[in-house]
Amino acid sequence: MVFAEMTDDATELFDIELKLLLDAVYMRYHYDFRGYAMSSLRRRMRHAMGRFDCERMSDLQHRILHEPAFFADAMQYFTVQVSEMFRDPAYFLGLREQVLPVLKTYPSIKVWVAGCSSGEEVWSLAILLAEEDLLDRSVIYATDINPEALAKAEHGTFAADRMPLFSRNYLAAGGRGSLSDYYTSAYGNAMFDRRLKKQMVFADHSLATDSVFSEVHLVSCRNVLIYFNRELQDRAVGLFREALVRRGFLGLGGKESLQFGAHADAFEPFVANQRIYRKVAP
């Protein structure tokens, strides 16, 4: 091979540098982004380079390796923090009308919200459980790898200007009252009722590197798997499969599917038109 004749394929070089960066992040900080979908990572890393004035990926790598505080900022480009209370109301309606009636039959209920981001999904589920009179005998594990997001999730305070959207979603999800029953407003924020929080447990947990920590009846993992490649999706769904009790439930984002993965046969669709699955009996 005549190296001098190799063409400068920009995409190929970018991908090589990106992989080196992911290796570096893993070795230095033990965050494992190596199994993330490359198509959107490429784009976000290009943004990070622009935002932090790094002309080359190696400049970004240098700062990430040498400045832990810088990595904490850059983290916002490795993960995507977008969430909404009762996002896709039909999903929450499906849980309310079809899944909770089954969970009611258990003496205690454990729910795992994997990739909970800033907590909108967790607080929505707590309201759902409260309205079905199940919250007192439930535990909600809320996990994520982004420490900033987890801190926000624990706080349960969201900007007041998001409440009209959240309220519409809540009602469309079969809400029995008014969303404002659950929060108090102050200084442009809506702070959710502390009573909802009693049963929540927040923890740093990675679907890429950690293992199962508890048996649960329902896993809600929405719009997290879309950021993973197929192999990492298989790992994550394998964790859910292991964590779920016999005939337990798994809820995914509206466009996420088990169909293309290794665990397709371990689950069956449970709610029509929603990505809510139930583990089949072994």
């Binding site: 920009a10 198509s39 959107s40 466009k255 599917s257």
Partner: protein
């Protein structure tokens, strides 16, 4: 003729006026069309669009709304779902993302075109149709920089000329064509 040879994939972006234009364009694809087709059409969020089903009725190829990590099959048409970006992850798989809207749009034409350019480089044909936004300009630039070809709808003819105009000014094109001309070419596609 401004064709990639061989043609490995087709991406199409459309915004205002795009439903009618896509109906014509997808209707012209022959049943023997081999390349996979990926489409971003700007649609209002929060509404099941129903557009893939609608347009599927006019197209000889199967038309689907994409799921995450869906396998890519030849001669299938994949639409971005409302409120998600659609990306080409590899020759075998699509990917969706909830990253921030780009130029107020999710799905974004730029995001689709750039991701497809990275996977198919010289084998990619990108078609940019009518629209009132400037989405697609960066995408067309990325496709052309990677060696793929771009056809842009003649702005004079487009229902909304802003999007084709913006892309032409920013990235140029391998061909500027009327919708009817594009369709004629696609009918006789070399692939």
């Amino acid at each position: 003729m401004a064709w990639p040879s061989p043609l490995e994939a087709l991406v199409i972006g459309a915004s205002a006026g795009g439903v009618a234009a896509l109906q014509t364009m997808l209707g012209s694809l022959p049943g023997s069309f081999q390349a996979p087709v990926f489409v971003v059409l700007h649609v209002p969020k929060d509404r099941p669009s129903g557009i893939p089903e609608l347009l599927g009725g006019y197209c000889a190829l199967p038309v689907l709304e994409a799921d995450d990590k869906q396998p890519v099959r030849p001669g299938h048409v994949y639409f971005a779902p409302p409120d998600y970006h659609l990306l080409v992850e590899s020759r075998d798989a699509l990917a969706l993302s909830m990253d921030e809207p780009v130029l107020f749009s999710r799905p974004s034409i730029d995001v689709l075109f750039e991701s497809a350019a990275a996977v198919y480089d010289r084998g990619l044909l990108a078609i940019l149709l009518t629209g009132a936004s400037s989405d697609g300009s960066e995408g067309v630039a990325a496709v052309r920089a990677a060696g793929g070809k771009a056809w842009i709808q003649c702005p004079v003819e487009a229902a909304a000329p802003a999007m084709p105009n913006a892309a032409l000014a920013h990235a140029g094109a391998d061909a500027v064509l009327r919708l009817g001309e594009m369709c004629e070419r696609l009918k006789g596609s070399p692939a």
